[in-house]
Amino acid sequence: MLLPSNRNKMKYAMIYTLLMGPILWISLLLGLAGIVLKIFRLLRMSTASDMPGKYALPPLGTWSGPGATSGSPVPLSVRFRIAVKNSLPGRDPFLAAVTTVFHGCLMVTPLFLTAHNVLLFQSWRLRTLSMPEALADVFAATVIASAFLLLLRRIFLKRVRMLTSFGDNTALAVAVAPFVTGMLAYHQAGPYDMMIILHILSGEILIIALGWSRLSHAVFFFFTRFMIGGEYALGGGRRSWMIDAKEREGLYG
């Protein structure tokens, strides 16, 4: 007859094996499929631009001042001021700083975490770059703190509160949950067995959400900012939002 505590341990061990085995594979496959499908969908909904770079801002060297003829020189300081003013750091420095720190730490921490890389080594003998545990701890705390600041902004700024829907708060919670549970598990705060299971589960939910929910902006961001032409495009703008030429003819021809 097993002691109740031992029976609990066995239950946790069973859930752990399930989460680290089949459910992990399912979530990885679902997440990857979502991301690949998203890329295909974005490619299908856009076409190669007839005139790449047409709507992009002219390069810094050719800007003209107000009332000046096109191409006449403008002081570098003015050009720099305009460039800053038109960017997010110039418009909303607080949001720009918090969101940059949040996204940076969010992506770096899980990839270079020692504990994750030990698991990779145990499974596949894969040696990867790891960062010191103390640094990872600081990064995880930064993610949680900056997410909290974003949440405060959502609650107290009226223009953001008006936009906020249930999905936005859920997305934030899904993104931050692995960090909260991971920190609690690392510091052995609360029941460890429970925390590590919650950590794995929330991480798997996050992986799936990357392809299928509004967290797919991870894919969308790089596609639109770097591929689609426009006033604020980064890069050449080789594609434009357009249905394919056949359908275009049917609609407008």
Partner: protein
């Protein structure tokens, strides 16, 4: 034609939304960060949170995508103030994610116009 008797052509709305399928993704990925607000001169001058570019797009085209068949003429009449009264389509709205907000407002205008709903310049956008 009397507005009360007119109905929204659900097939037409569906067809027009399908032509701009990518706008569904625009609406899906919008993180509602509100960063677009500061680039909108209407918001900067009036301070009205209802004139945030994202709010205008969500309340017009977003509503059409959400409601689908349940879209009514009253909805179209109500969004007139958002898409004509609070936006001049100057295309200055800046989205860190690269969402083309003004194109969504322009397409919402097109769908409204296809149903005979547009700004009455004699009355003004609010019909006053």
């Amino acid at each position: 034609m009397d507005d009360m008797t007119k109905k929204v052509d659900a097939a037409l709305v569906k067809n027009m939304l399908r032509q701009k399928e990518y706008m569904r993704d625009f609406l899906l990925v919008c993180a509602s960060c509100g960063a677009c607000a500061d680039s909108c001169f209407h918001f900067r001058n009036h301070g009205d949170p209802g004139s945030t570019p994202s709010f205008k797009a969500m309340g017009s085209l977003g509503l059409m995508f959400r409601k689908g068949r349940r879209l009514s003429m009253d909805d179209l009449e109500e969004m007139k103030d958002l898409i004509w009264g609070k936006c001049v389509l100057c295309r200055r709205c800046y989205c860190p994610m690269g969402i083309d907000v003004s194109s969504m407002i322009a397409w919402a205008r097109s769908i409204c116009r296809a149903h005979g709903v547009s700004e009455d310049y004699e009355k003004g956008p609010k019909g006053i």
